[in-house]
């Protein structure tokens, strides 16, 4: 049916995409293949990478799959690329948008009690946050946000109420 092994086609598709490739996109290219089959083939691929000592693997993120480096190589990669760290302010703004988004800058400022302009700019610049056009502009977290924080969807974030339980009342 296909000119190549489906497993290797899946590998090529994930390999060629910037960031995570959603499962539904894989299924679109390979009609007749089920989500479970994709998953088991990804597992097979990871087994091959493991057995042949590859420095990368496929991981789940943003309702799909993406290639990432294996943990042991971080120190070498870091020598080429500065690690990416968010300030506390940016993390707070990101948290507001993740939990309350889509929301306006005013909403964010109100919750944090301070102006969030520069953090917002940083987050938009790093593509962790998307802007929804309109008046006023509204902000939502992006696909890259899910990738960076290893989430399939925002629903995987713990509830704010759960935090209450975990940390108790201040």
């Amino acid at each position: 049916m296909y000119t190549r092994n489906v497993r290797e086609i899946i590998e090529a598709l994930i390999f060629s995409s910037d960031g995570a490739l959603e499962i539904k996109d894989i299924l679109k290219v390979l009609p007749g293949i089920s989500e479970n089959e994709v998953e088991s083939m990804v597992n097979e691929l990871n087994k091959i990478y493991d057995e042949t000592g590859r420095s990368f693997m496929i991981t789940r993120a943003s309702n799909g799959y993406m290639f990432v480096s294996r943990d042991g190589y971080t120190q070498y990669i870091k020598a080429l690329m500065p690690p990416f760290r968010l300030s506390r302010a940016s993390l707070e703004v990101l948290a507001v948008i993740a939990y309350k988004g889509p929301c306006t800058k005013q909403d964010i400022d109100l919750i944090r009690g301070v102006d969030s302009s520069s953090s917002l700019k940083t987050l938009v610049h790093h593509e962790l946050v998307n802007v929804i056009a309109g008046r006023p502009l509204r902000y939502v977290t992006s696909k890259k946000f899910l990738e960076v924080f290893g989430l399939n969807s925002l629903s995987e974030l713990p509830d704010l109420d759960q935090f209450e339980e975990l940390f108790g009342k201040a």
């Binding site: 993406m66 480096s69 990101l94 948290a95 939990y99 944090r112 301070v114 960076v148 924080f149």
Partner: protein
Amino acid sequence: MSSLQAGTEFVLRLPRFEGPLDLLLYLIEKNRLSIEELELCPIIDQYLEYINAVRRLNIELAAEFLDMASYLLWLKSSSLISINSGTEDSELVNPMAELKEMLAAYRGIKIAARNLNERQLLYRERFPKGRTPKVEADVSKMDIMAILKAIASIRERTKHYVVSIKRDRYHIREIMGRINSMLQKKKKVSLVEVAETRVKSEIIAIFLAALELSKASIVRLVQKSIYGTIYMVRRSESFTSQNKRDPLRYK
């Protein structure tokens, strides 16, 4: 703890506070109280003391810290009034509740931010695959109507006929010239040989040119069998003597 010590500590720690709500939460925690007990404790006083201490040191404070200071001052005075007068004016009670709500909401976000920070995997422990050159997308399939519409839009804009009868007339003249020069080199040329592109209209034009040359007695058209190759054979006498009629002037 004396207020001076507290003030000194605050100055040293100032950069850690993201805003007035952050500072208030810090004070509530430090006093081992809950947000609910905000008004029962010296927190408002401590906040104001800190702000004053910082201002005495001429350290620039974000406007929000000062806004909160005046808000807290106002809250303090209005609560004193409300206690003294014993009224149940909701407008005097609500601001404190509002502030508590804000503090609770901000604390939730603060914890969520800390949680996000712990969750960050990419660009810390793992790195994503780098971007490599993209495979080029295919041109989307289209209907020939798109071409016709394009022609219509050129015509509408320029009043030019893209595909005009005039163009065919020129084409036939040109092809007659082409055949003529080919027949100077050899005696016999097939119709197919003349074609450069095999575009339908060119084939038609070649055929018309052949008929025209035949009419002008410059060539003889020869076809040995049905569907066989059609040849144009040079008529020797007419080729040398330029006819009374210019064969290249096609009407």
